[in-house]
Amino acid sequence: MTMTQTARAQTPVMTGSIATTAANEAAKAARARRKRNGAMAYHTVGAAIVLFFLAPFAIAFLASFRSGTEGMTPPLPPWPTTGFSLDSYRSLDTFGAGVWQHTLNSLVVSLATVVLTVAISLLAGYGFSRYRFPLKNTLFVLIIATLMIPFQSILTPLFIILAKLGLNNSLFGLVLVYVTLQLPFSVFMMRNAFDAVPKEIEEAARIDGARDLKLLVRVLLPLVLPGAATVAIFAFLNAWNEFLAALVLLSSNDNYTMPVLMMAVRAGRLGAINWGAVQAGVVVMTIPCLIIFLLLQRYYMRGLMAGAVK
């Protein structure tokens, strides 16, 4: 392909006759046409792919604004035909302690997980990057090694330990478990982030009188902020989306996070499932994830790569 192209480019210079120029023009036009057709085929396939991956979201989103009776029929067309309505969200609100309460539970759990994960992995990353102490590598490997152990296999002891700490059925207990699950990845990320900061900056700050936590927060935090952002995004999404641990560790209705509440909606009442409420719940659970991802895609992908190369 490349060779023929080079050969063709050289012909006009060598011959320069009218006939070859005309043939050349035709060839160029044919190539342009082929390229255009290729691009069209490419984007036709692209459109089909986009349709497959986007349609479920779009259908659920549009369908969730149909009226109560319409909500039970197949989404054909998916958009509301009898006027925009919040019926689905109102019926979702009749489950558990109401949709606001459970969204708030999910938000509190996710944001607390973010704050604690960032704080704890910031300290640990700094400690592992800058200090020397006995068993340092063993302890680091211990933290990373927990990645190998599926948390699904230790739920019973987690339940018992939280009960012993008086944290059974507590959102804070759930947060502690979520933070622990995030630590291997987060400590790894933050250690790398600190390793990339030149030591000279710290020396200079020390000479200026900054010490310890002040040094860490005022001088170093801004430098490792991209790493912290990555850690925060993953902590948020994982806590917001987690289902099994929440299902096991939360036992009272009022404390349910959104995914656990949705099981009541999924189970239905008197044998009938309110599909409108299911659609509304899916939208409520999806929107924050999509917004965060679309806004902070760069940091998310960085984390993914770091995880992949490890």
């Binding site: 640990a124 200090y131 927990t146």
Partner: protein, 305 residues
Amino acid sequence: MTVVSTLSRTAGRPRSRSSAWRGLLYIAPAMALVILFFVIPVIVTAWMSLHNWPLMGAQRWIGINNYVRMIHDARFLSALRFTALYTIIATIAIFAVAFPLALFVEKQRRFVGAYRTVIFLPVVVGLATASLLWVWLANVDSGFIGPLLIALGITERSPNLLASFDSAFLTIIVMVVWKIAGFTMIILLTGLQAIPADIVEAARIDGAKRWQRFRYLTLPLMRRTIALALIISVTGSILAFDQFYIMTAGGPQNRMISVVYYIFNQSFVSFNLGYGASLSIVLLAILVAISIVQLWLLKVGDEKA
């Protein structure tokens, strides 16, 4: 630079002990959480697995009886078989979609960024959310897939997809591909882009056809990436729970009980905590074994590359 480090070293000598303590202090919160919520629970799980441990009442030491019991537990064995089947089919399906997608979005051209983003969107929502969304889409009376199949002329009546094993299994596989393929695609994409362009160019000039280049150049150079994507897909599938619990509640005739689902049932529905713990230890052993294979595979990949 050298001067500074020598200086700090000589200055640091007397306070090196306090510096060690300070380092330990920084990592203390992380260590406390990992020990309290990971190390101790693993030990407790192992301990519990050797007991008859009901929710109420006294625990009784029964040695390895729980492990003996599971060898004869037909439901556990069928959960193992089902999980293996699901893992194999799901992994093949995900790769069959993700690899072409990675090739599709590899080159920089117009809209390629948008394609990547859209394909990746389902990855960032929860598996529970995706399961709920698809259980509605697949519903016989109110869903979308039924009418779609009728419109495409594939069926005449809206099928009850989640009522028979085969169609329910297929629905879950389609959902999982929709949810996970974007993730695998990005992993494979990093591998594709790491292949030096001049090598591909050289092969092209030497007359290697498109398929030959893929088979003898791209695939071998992507060994490491493929191994990684494979392991992530396999471990994720072995731990599958949400989709079966939410979409089919264990499936027609309880045939869709995965290993994690069975452990959940034993521990938190039947409250056989000791037996559940022994099943957990088996699950844990399987995953640690896979992790070791992973490390080995990636190392071998390193040497070859």
